[in-house]
Amino acid sequence: MSAEDGGTTGRGPDAPARPPLAVAPLATGVLVTAVGAVVLAGAFMIPESAAYQAVGAGAFPVLVGAGALVVGVLNLLAVLRRSDTAQLDQAREEAAVTHWPTVGALAAALAGYAALLVPLGFWQTSAVFLVVAARVLGSRRPVRDALVGLVLALALYFLFDRVLGVSLPPGYIRLAF
């Protein structure tokens, strides 16, 4: 199976017509395969504790792990053979379109948001996050963003924390409320 797409036949006459390897879908294939392997390996490590049961806690995970492993490998094969044209087309389009600095900066802003949520408090962090994220996404109107951020953050905080009773972090330094 893999001999024909392993690249050993190398630079055959049809080599230039072959589309380049799609890296992003490859990564997803690797992820699914790895999850399958971990689940399968983990399934065998679950001890058979209860003898009175027809099947123990490990039986179903074996099926899930094996299934994920098989599907993951099929995925990898499809990527390596360039047989899933729809996925290839999408990968090409996405690669051309995705603006990574924006995605990265937004992800970083989210990580900071999570890190500061408890120390700084929900509404404070949320308001700051909204301004930062809006800036990352191309806004050039910080005053408007700050106003929107404050109103939204305080409204959510009061609605959930004070009215609905879902407690949200108030922050270590209590400002006004």
């Binding site: 806690a57 899930v64 899933d84 603006h99 924006t102 937004l106 989210l110 948001y113 949320s126 994220a133």
Partner: protein, 500 residues
């Protein structure tokens, strides 16, 4: 008569001022969030799940039924005016809805969508009223082996019919099943895949999975494309109403759409994608003006919108009576039930009659409310379309963060939400549908329960699934569903775009 007296009971609870207000709140928030570009019904319901932490089950589910419907109505507005379908089931609406809007008939397109949805929703709710209890009776007779087989069939249909690759759909499904394994095993009390983290003993909170995959993932995805695709909002000129000709061209597609959407949606194998695409194809075939399709034929909006709403309602039948959601949105709705330890299934009608009948009664009420909200007030919603993306995306993320935090009352929840957000972004970007993952995560534990019960009854004999005729037949059907779409697709060259 029994059904009618139950329904009357339901109405008596649903019409309590409090529940009417909650239903109104639900449809309003649902429409409001659903109309925001890029937020489909599943994302809408997921984002609003934190609201379940604060209400009683009946009130919350009345509200969530409203959100469920409202999110879909809102989604058609973006499909028509922005050419942005909120979910794959709305794709057919864009094919003729957007051209209609460009030709200045946006008002008529919105009107036929709203009225068609109302007609379909009401007919379907009547059907649920009678079909639901009957299905529940059938459901009680289903043995674990058959239950397992039905769930496999549901998985397979949802997976192989969404998106354009069975393998990618299955990959998503198995990731979901793996997520569902994490936590203490309910039968033996053994910890599985918890990696010694006490926080994982209770399993991965599905609200976090849904919020992360749908809301955060979608936000990251649209952030990456923000600089690339400027959308053009088509303003609605004239009244949101139809002229005589448009009425006469609409009513048959509404009924046909309902006739297609309701039965397919009600099967424990349906979903809403097939009916809408099928309805579009049927309208096109039956129309005398085929050349208008794709350029703004009102039938192409009326039929699929009715089919979508009928299927959306129909999906509630397997959800309530078997506990099997057959769409991503229904899976997220199931999470709202589970927050209250209400497990939908065959015994739900007996155990929770007040809840079920109030819910069904509130569907009638919600449909009327949505008609009112969407005809005269649609201009109000349209203005939401012009909320700048650079503010909208951060606002969604703040609400998502709140949901992820509140689900576990910890930053761990939010961090997990970010991980799932990254996963959702990546899957979306590489062409893997999210729906099967959510379905696998929420139904995996139930699938395992039936699997183990069936094996316990057979005393460990694994052939039980193949030797019981009904179970075997259903599994064969599932196997066919796995192979057939790929064969048909290869022949016809049809692809179903993935929006969620």
């Amino acid at each position: 008569m029994d059904v009618l007296s139950n329904l009357a009971e339901g109405f008596s609870t649903a019409l309590l001022l409090r529940n009417v207000l909650l239903a109104l709140l639900g449809v309003t928030i649902g429409t409001l969030v659903g109309v925001l570009p890029g937020l489909g019904p599943a994302t809408t319901v997921a984002l609003l799940l934190p609201l379940t932490f604060v209400f009683d089950p009946v009130g919350a589910l009345v509200m969530f039924a409203g959100i469920y419907y409202g999110g879909m109505y809102g989604g058609s507005t973006t499909a028509i005016l922005l050419n942005v379908p909120g979910e794959s089931a709305s794709v057919p609406t864009t094919l003729d809805g957007y051209p209609m809007a460009k030709k200045g008939r946006g008002g008529a397109a919105l009107a036929t969508a709203a009225i068609g949805s109302f007609v379909a929703g009401t007919i379907s709710t009547v059907a649920i009223t009678f079909l639901g209890p009957a299905m529940a009776e059938v459901g009680k007779m289903i043995q674990p082996a058959e239950y397992f087989a039905i769930m496999v069939l549901a998985f397979v249909t949802v997976t192989s019919l969404v998106g354009n690759s069975v393998v990618r759909g299955l990959a998503s499904l198995f990731l979901g099943l793996a997520i569902g394994l994490v936590g203490i095993d309910s039968l033996t009390g053994q910890a599985r895949y918890t990696f010694e983290l006490p926080r994982l003993y209770g399993g991965i909170d599905l609200i976090i999975v849904a919020v992360g995959l749908f809301a955060i993932g979608e936000a990251l995805y649209s952030a990456g494309r923000l600089r690339h695709r400027p959308e053009e909002i088509v303003p609605v000129r004239g009244r949101v109403w139809m002229n005589r000709e448009e009425w006469s061209r609409s009513w048959r597609p509404w009924l046909r759409g309902t006739a297609i959407g309701l039965p397919i949606g009600s099967l424990p194998a349906g979903g809403a994608e097939i009916p809408t695409f099928l309805s579009y194809a049927v309208e096109r075939r039956l129309s005398k003006r085929k050349e208008e399709f794709g350029k703004g034929a009102i039938e192409g909006v009326a039929g699929p919108e009715a089919a979508n709403n009928a299927a959306f309602s129909g999906v509630l039948v397997p959800l309530l009576t078997l506990g099997i959601p057959t769409s991503a949105t229904a899976a997220v709705l199931l999470m709202a039930f589970q927050v209250y330890n209400v497990q939908p299934g065959p015994t739900l009608f007996d155990d929770q009659p007040v809840l079920v009948w109030t819910l069904i009664a509130s569907l009638y009420i919600g449909n009327v409310m949505l008609l009112v909200l969407n005809l005269p007030l649609v201009r109000l919603w349209v203005r939401l379309l012009s909320v700048p993306r650079e503010l909208l995306v951060p606002a969604i993320l703040v609400v998502a963060a709140l949901g992820a935090y509140a689900a576990t009352q910890s930053v761990f929840g939010m961090a997990l939400g970010l991980v799932f957000g990254a996963l959702g972004f990546w899957l979306r970007r590489t062409g893997y549908p999210i729906g099967p993952l959510v379905l696998g995560a929420i139904l995996g534990p139930l699938l395992e329960t039936h699997f183990r019960q069936a094996l316990a009854f057979s005393e460990g004999d694994w052939t039980v699934f193949a030797t019981r005729p009904i179970s075997a037949a259903i599994l064969v059907a599932a196997a066919l569903m796995l192979v057939l779409p790929a064969v048909l697709r290869r022949r016809a060259g049809i692809t179903v775009p993935v929006a969620e």
